[in-house]
Subunit: 355 residues, 2 copies
């Protein structure tokens, strides 16, 4: 039975978390350990749903913040268990930045802040790294949104210990061209669907991205073919070609507006939506967000990638990404985190919640 | 032990051939039956190499013609054994047109023409429907070209009982574009290889085919994408895209010239040759070819598809396609042949070889 020591320092705790393997859908052991460790603290109300744990202070304070992180990781890739390089101060291994360092900060704060200046809801959830249907935060948002209620939320995904606000939405469509098969020795009897896709790719190549500025942050959209496939046999004129296009859209566009743009962009072609997730407005004008940014300091950047902050936006809760580690190393064999960033994040949040 | 009766009519013989299953690489039983049946005739010198049979008259005549057909078929597709529809005069089933009707004509002529006006070499070979390395005619051409020596060759592939002269060559290349991966949320950090393929497809769409006239026959080239593939993951900018292009080229171009054309057509792109087979000149100016065409009558058409006639061209022997059946139904579940075309071909060849 794995155990976690929430009285140790945040770096040691990060390693304890990393050394309990919790690849998506295998979070049970880690969720058990988290639940047991938090249940020891009388100042927390601990609830569990599946492998997601919600621990709250209930001090009746006028403001409540949510601090959240996911417990799961992508599959092991020769990078388990953790390895600390004392010389460089870098902690290596699966989950280092995505996101057991963030989880460790959450658990340290939960255990040690008996009387924060705002009520806090700590959320540690499962299955973020796989299909959205499994996502523990998504399930809570759908079934018990009251458990996630708050004035402001911080998702501790890696952001180089800086604040990243909002997030871009993402959708995927299939743009399909059709033709007519024939033997390639008599190609003029058919219609080549792959050739028709040339115009689809030409439009993509000529695409100029929008870069809207929202709450002072410049976003940067993207419209890209991520897959192309077509062909029947080496001697057959192909009758179908599919270009899969991923649109990353800024937070001033809803999913519906984003789809309408893509449909109009590919006017004249068959466009099928296969996947869509909303953007999240940065919400930096909200008082809770302003106070947080003042407290942690530093430059605020836009979040280009999609994260679970969008789930809070859907609930009407402004949310930012703020956590230790460089997201560029997430999902990589050489995943790692600077231990100085872990302590920086812990201290900044502790100061903000105790000031 | 399967037997063939070469004294029966050509339609019944076609059915006997069709009812001995001989999917490529499974020609042993049929080859045995063919060899036994031909060996009964003293006017033939019969030689066997693997599952290919060569039967020759040896009358010392000044001219020798080669009449050839393959014994194998594509796989069974719910169309075995043969089924004769008496009402319509259509023979249905695997191998009906491709090419047991042609084989039956060859065997009837071989058995019955004791004293043809030209020496004749009858060739029945294996493994035409699969990778060229197995091709029985190709093996004979490479190892014992003397066995195939002649002034003119007729390949009895289906041609609607009309003469089709020459054949177009075929080659395939991969046109590759490369880029640089990045997360699609930060697409501007990468280079999209699929977008680059748009120009490749645009050139293909703008391609105007050559239609050279050779020996009075108009050929019709074709340059077509037959496959396209690219993509790494739904959220990754792809770093490679491959367009597979099939070029069908007229008999006035060699394989080298054809490749040079394709390389110049895709100037600026990485072009890799994956497959190539030569064209065959119609050779209608040769006396043997002229005499044959006069004898069988009808319009001579160009052969757009590639056939084994090209193997004779490589040996310096002019060759044409002439056989019963519509090639459009080859390799189809509803493969069939009009029995009138089988007898037409038999009579035309018999007249020409006995006039």
């Amino acid at each position: 039975m794995a155990t976690l020591d929430l009285t140790t320092d945040v770096v040691t705790l990060t390693r304890q978390l990393m050394d309990i393997e919790s690849v998506s859908l295998n979070e049970l052991e880690l969720a058990d350990a988290v639940e047991r460790a938090l249940a020891a603290y009388d100042h927390l109300v601990v609830e569990r749903r599946g492998n997601s744990i919600v621990a709250r202070t209930d001090l009746g304070l006028p403001e409540r913040v949510v601090v959240a992180g996911h417990l799961d990781t992508v599959p092991v890739n020769g990078n388990f268990p953790s390895r600390l390089d004392e010389a460089t101060g870098i902690l290596h291994g699966l989950g280092a930045c995505d996101m057991k360092a963030g989880d460790a900060v959450i658990l340290k704060l939960a255990a040690s802040l008996e009387a924060p200046n705002r009520d806090v809801t700590y959320v540690l959830y499962d299955a973020e790294e796989i299909e959205a249907v499994h996502n523990g935060l998504g399930k809570l948002a759908a079934s018990e949104p009251d458990l996630l209620a708050g004035d402001f939320a911080i998702l501790m995904e890696p952001s180089n210990a800086g604040v990243e606000a909002g997030c871009q939405g993402t959708l995927r469509v299939e743009v399909r061209t059709t033709g007519e098969r024939s033997h390639s020795a008599r190609s003029w009897r058919g219609v080549n669907a792959i050739h028709k896709a040339g115009e689809v790719l030409r439009r993509l190549e000529a695409y100029v991205p929008r870069k809207p500025v929202i709450d002072g942050l410049e976003y940067h959209e993207g419209l890209n073919a991520v897959f192309v496939s077509g062909g029947v046999a080496g001697n057959v004129i192909p009758d179908e070609c599919v270009v899969t296009v991923n649109y990353r859209f800024a937070p001033d566009r809803s999913e519906e507006e984003a789809l309408a743009f893509v449909q109009s962009f590919f006017d004249g072609y068959e466009v099928t939506l296969t996947d869509s997730a909303p953007s999240a407005l940065p919400g930096l004008d909200r008082p809770a967000a302003k106070a947080f940014i003042e407290a942690v300091g530093g430059e605020v950047g836009p979040k280009f990638g999609w994260t679970d902050v969008a789930r809070f936006t859907v609930l009407g809760i402004p949310a930012v990404n703020y956590g230790p580690g460089d997201p560029m190393f997430a999902h990589k064999a050489d995943e790692h985190v600077r231990i100085s960033e872990i302590t920086t994040c812990e201290l900044a949040l502790r100061d903000w919640l105790t000031a």
